[in-house]
């Protein structure tokens, strides 16, 4: 059984206690997306401003556990000001780090699943690496990905609206 310290790293507790980019941007002009974790009732609201191919600003609101809140805080810090290409790349990297277990929920246990996973180069993701331990707690993965899914949905919606 994995240790609690794998889950609650210091960086996570720090972002949980002092979340960055918390709040809501005025919408419009900001684009607003709501996400639900139907399993536990957590809700997240992500507001974002995209301009000239860049994610100019982002904030998150809503309620959630230390994992969902710190993940949203870490996400906002990581993506704000980045080009949309970089943001999408980061979403992919993060989701693949998190989906390790989900994908393998098939017949094998978590440990096997971890071994099979395509390695994520943690040096490319900075502080986000602190969330790596979450994959050892499969039910918490949905907490960690909640805000990321909302961000991805928002970018998709904006792309569709623009096209």
């Amino acid at each position: 059984m994995p240790d609690l310290e794998d889950l609650y790293r210091e960086i996570i507790l720090d972002h949980y206690r002092s979340p960055r980019h918390r709040g809501e941007l005025e919408s419009p002009p900001a684009h607003r997306v709501e996400g639900f974790n139907p399993l536990c009732g957590d809700e997240v609201v992500v507001t974002m401003v995209v301009d000239g191919g860049t994610l100019q600003d982002i904030k998150f609101a809503g309620t959630g556990c230390s994992i969902s809140q710190s993940s949203a805080s870490l996400m906002s810090s990581a993506v704000k000001g980045k080009s949309l290409d970089d943001v999408r790349q980061l979403i992919r990297t993060f989701k693949s780090m998190m989906s390790i277990h989900e994908a393998a929920l098939g017949e094998s246990g978590p440990d096997e699943a971890l071994e099979e996973a395509a390695p994520v180069d943690v040096r490319t993701i900075g502080e986000l690496a602190a969330l790596q331990g979450v994959v050892k707690f499969p039910v918490r993965i949905k907490c960690a990905t909640l805000s990321w899914n909302a961000l991805a949905q928002g970018l998709d919606e904006l792309a569709t609206a623009a096209s």
């Binding site: 059984m1 536990c40 959630g64 230390s66 918490r140 907490c143």
Partner: protein, 410 residues
């Protein structure tokens, strides 16, 4: 007649489990109960010696299987005081299907645009979504009894809200607050107003003596897996005259008298509502669970769980003070063993995660009662709920774990 919890615990194999180096402390019986050996043995013995499809065979095991299935029906009815169990119990896959059956069958046959269905703010989604779905189709008016500051139903506006009501659907015991609702006066008022009453007994039937005649309701839904029985089976008790007048719900084998290419003739109730091969082994398990609970005695179960609830409410207040809020009524006759907790501003998910390190099984989340969460002003709670196999040590470990969560997230 007190209940001997030490002896009872030995019947539950899962209590021998060790989690994170600690003996398991199972405090999630409101989600699902554990199963005692006699229930598992009854199902195993059924599969090993008797299994056959029911109702259609003349050979020995088919006849025995039918008899065991039908005798489980009688046991399931007797357990809730059904006047005529063989006719009045419909086996479903869970309590949720039982409520959907009433919504689809009784509801479509009896409700019209504008009719009022009275629910409460404390209902489980199982007793909300079927009515929301039906309302989308028929255009009903859904009204709600409110929940007061102590977690009790506010019945002061009952008569007004019953005006125009054709159905009242209300939980006999809340799966979040532990509130044991006093259904008799609600049912009497509903009947006086011309409404039919469905009780969601998913939480009450496993933990209290329940008698449909005493409650005065017309339908009662419950699930085996919360009352020491297996997954995969629930029951609907319904007044025989209501069931007899209801159209079928699901179509298929076993629920017909005759089928032609252009029409069919449904069978009598309860067969009319049991399409396809039923949960036979699960019925056998439910029958064994009923016998187990009857042998312990539901009065004794309630007394034990009540004293444990009293102990928990007291100990939490003593040891954790203002750090911990328990939603729902104070200790008392109308307080079941469900403890929905808030601990400072630590999120329930985090509480449950820390408690898991102590082997303690509690459930974080909205407990399928999102509207009630909004009333309580929270997005989730951490819920500890007791069963006849819990004792005061379990509560002590719970409190120890909560204190540790406080240190970690302090």
């Amino acid at each position: 007649m007190a209940l001997d919890v030490e002896t009872i615990r030995k019947d539950f194999p899962l209590l021998a489990r060790v989690v994170n180096g600690r003996p398991i402390v199972y405090l999630d019986s409101a989600a699902t109960s554990l199963q005692p050996r006699p229930v598992l043995a009854a199902m195993e013995q059924y599969y090993e010696t008797t299994h056959a499809n029911v109702h259609r065979g003349v050979y020995a095991t088919a006849e025995e299987a039918t008899q065991r299935y039908e005798s489980a029906r009688v046991a399931a009815g007797r357990f809730v005081g059904a006047p005529d169990p063989a006719r009045e119990i419909v086996f479903t896959k869970n309590a949720t299907e039982a409520i959907n059956l009433v919504a689809n069958s009784w509801g479509r046959a009896n409700l019209r645009r504008g009719d009022v269905v009275l629910l409460t703010q404390m209902e489980h989604h199982a007793n909300l979504v079927p009515w929301l779905m039906l309302s989308e189709q028929l255009g009903l008016e859904l009204r709600y009894l409110e929940v007061d500051g102590q977690g009790r139903l506010d019945v002061s506006a009952l008569d007004r809200k019953l005006d125009g009501a054709r159905l009242v659907a209300v939980s006999a015991m809340s799966n979040v607050l532990g509130t044991i609702n006093d259904l008799r006066p609600i049912a009497d008022a509903a009947h006086a107003a011309g409404a039919v009453v469905l009780a969601d007994g998913a939480q009450a039937v496993p933990h209290l003596p329940v008698d449909v005649r005493a409650l005065g309701v017309d339908f009662l839904a419950y699930s085996a897996h919360k009352m020491l029985g297996p997954t995969g089976i629930g029951a609907l008790w319904g007044r025989a005259d209501l069931l007899d007048a209801m159209p079928p719900f699901l179509g298929g084998g076993g629920m017909i008298l005759d089928v032609r290419l252009d029409r069919f003739l449904p069978a009598e109730s309860p067969q009319r509502f049991e399409a396809g091969t039923p949960p036979i082994a699960e019925a056998v398990g439910l029958g064994a669970a009923v016998r187990y609970l009857e042998a312990v005695g539901m009065e004794a179960v309630r007394a034990h769980e009540r004293s444990l609830t009293d102990y928990a409410l007291g100990a939490i207040a003593d040891r954790l003070g203002d750090d911990c809020t328990v939603f729902g009524p104070p200790a008392g006759d109308d307080r079941g063993g469900v403890l929905s907790l808030a601990f400072r501003d630590v999120h329930p998910h985090d509480l449950a995660q820390v408690l898991d390190q102590y082997g303690v099984c509690v459930r974080p989340g909205h407990h399928c009662a999102k509207p009630l969460m909004r009333v309580l002003g929270v997005s989730a709670t951490a819920r500890a709920s007791v069963g006849l196999y819990n004792d005061e040590r379990d509560i002590d470990v719970l409190i120890e774990g909560l204190a540790e969560a406080g240190r970690l997230f302090g």
